[in-house]
């Protein structure tokens, strides 16, 4: 079943230097699966993710032939309807937890805020649910973390809290924008496996946005490779090593490998025909 379908999405910005097109006709559809969007900076991957929630501020403009989430036309939905979707049915995890958590509010209060206001839960019930959410992201002493302020948490811990917060309302779709790029490699692996388990167990749809092809390949079912606002290749993650598009191949080859040869790393040819 299709959860989200996007047809011919375009995002453009009207700046002093003229019209800038960040996304130029992207189409994809998503079931309850894990879709990776990979690209380098400026490829429009983040803008694509944000467009789904219509989180693009003026002078940015979103256009699409169709953008439909579970029967709801996202292009026509009112701002009020969008607010009802954001956070509850479609959740988003951003790159750096430092900027996503309120620095002057205890973690517990932030977790319980939505439960109490949106779902009208009592204090005790909300607290129990928040602690359960923290436990679900494998935080060992959730009671202590509930009382902590965001700056008292490490990066990995903060990102787990973010994930817990996003998953409390049981969304149908999670958009994760570089959720582990700010973390150390060993922590990165842990956070990813937690995210993976949660998505599997709950049967959510996931859009995983990253610059790291290898990470996405290991973690997703399907991968969209974006370049300059367009999807240049779509393929199953397991076939990534057999990618046909020169850009995808270039991305794979330009990474150094432990024990690899010492010769210059192959660069990307950005002058080829496909690069326009």
């Amino acid at each position: 079943m299709t959860l989200l379908s996007v047809k011919n999405l375009r995002v453009s910005f009207d700046t002093e230097a003229g019209l800038v097109e960040a996304v130029r006709g992207v189409s994809f559809s998503l079931g309850r699966e894990r879709l990776g969007i990979v690209g380098e900076s400026g490829s429009g991957k983040t803008m694509t993710g944000r467009s789904v929630l219509r989180l693009i501020r003026p002078p940015g403009r979103i256009e699409a032939e169709e953008m439909r989430f579970d029967g709801i036309d996202l292009m026509r939905a009112s701002e009020k309807e969008m607010r009802a979707l954001r956070g509850t049915r479609i959740a988003m995890v951003m790159q750096d937890p430092k900027y996503s958590l309120n620095p002057v509010m205890r973690v517990g209060a932030q977790l319980m805020e939505g439960l109490r206001q949106r779902d009208g839960m009592g204090k005790a019930e909300a607290r129990a649910k928040a602690i359960a959410a923290l436990a679900a992201v494998q935080i060992r002493d959730p009671e202590r973390v509930m009382e902590a302020y965001p700056h008292e948490l490490s990066g990995g811990m903060g990102q787990r809290v973010m994930i817990a917060m996003m998953l409390i309302p049981d969304p149908d779709l999670l958009i994760a924008d570089e959720p582990t790029s700010a973390l150390d490699v060993t922590v990165q692996a842990e956070v990813l496996s937690i995210l993976d388990g949660l998505v599997r167990d709950r049967g959510m749809g996931l859009i995983f946005i990253s610059h790291d092809l290898r990470l996405v390949a290991r973690f997703c079912d399907r991968v969209l490779v974006m370049f300059k606002g367009r999807v240049v290749e779509e393929l199953a993650a397991k076939d990534l090593m057999q990618a046909k598009h020169p850009y995808t191949q270039g991305l794979l080859n330009c990474l150094p490998r432990i024990g690899g040869p010492r010769e210059p790393l192959p660069g990307l040819d950005r002058t080829a025909e496909w690069a326009n």
Binding site: S41, V185, L251, R257, I258, L265
Partner: protein, 252 residues
């Protein structure tokens, strides 16, 4: 003889009555024209070692010698001509209100080196930037282009030692490849000595002859490049870092 000798170095920061021991009793030595790597996760103290060499972090114990001589404090003009640094974030390391031209000619002006015009032009072409970039401002450049400018700036005074603090971690993969190639080319051409910090073992492996693994401000293990490729680590921490390294993921 080793060009950089660090002996029993400790760095302690004092903040709000608390002591943070960022580096504890680390020793290492780097030979002339060698490329030496420091690898570790955030908070391991790897960048602090570079900053301590430059006089940007408070040394609380141990000695740093360059070319056999203990370095002066504060660092003098001679030090500037011998050691330069490339910072991690090219968005933060270039003055946002100076043109590239100003950024590159400033070191020449400070040291009273003539012929600035020609040198700036040559520096741009050496790092593979078109001459038209000379009067641009940093915000008109991409991350990779900025890092090239930062590398050009570090080489303006023709130092023999380049300290590289995660020079590619803020860059895209393809740009990282180009930047690493540029650094390797410059090292070969000019006989530079690199002391390079990274969290990415694969990058260190590609660039360095020897690597020191660090954790919580302490040296864990020093590895030759060959030992890294064949995963012959002696400590558990170095092994776990190796296992979590991004390029193992496809096999994993």
């Amino acid at each position: 003889m080793a060009l950089i000798e660090i002996d029993d170095l400790s760095v302690t920061f004092h903040a709000k009555g608390r002591e943070v021991r960022a580096v504890q009793n680390v020793s290492l030595s780097v030979g002339a024209q060698e490329s030496y790597g420091l690898v570790g996760e955030s908070g391991s103290g790897k960048s602090t070692i570079l900053r301590a060499i430059c006089g940007l972090a408070p040394v609380s114990g141990g000695t740093i010698r360059i070319g056999g001589q203990p370095i002066d404090s504060p660092r003098g003009a001679a030090f500037s001509r011998q050691v330069q640094m490339v910072f991690q974030d090219p968005y933060a390391s270039l003055h946002p209100r100076h043109t590239i031209d100003r950024t590159l000619s400033e070191p020449l002006a400070i040291h009273g080196i003539a012929d600035a015009d020609a040198r700036v032009k040559r520096a741009l072409s050496d790092v593979g930037l078109p001459p038209g970039f000379r009067f641009r401002f940093p915000h008109q450049l991409s991350g990779g282009q900025r890092q090239r400018v930062a590398i050009a700036r570090a080489l303006m005074l023709e130092p023999s030692i380049l300290l590289l603090d995660e020079p590619t971690s803020a860059l895209d993969a393809s740009v990282q490849a180009e930047t690493l190639n540029l650094l390797n080319r410059l090292r070969a051409e000019r006989g530079l000595t690199f002391l390079m910090v990274s969290h990415d073992l694969a990058v260190i492996d590609h660039m360095c002859d020897r690597v020191l693994v660090m954790q919580h401000g302490r040296a864990v293990e020093e590895l030759e490049r060959a030992a890294l490729a064949t995963a012959e680590m002696k400590t558990d921490y170095a092994r776990s870092l190796f296992a979590a390294s991004a390029d193992r993921m496809l096999e994993g």
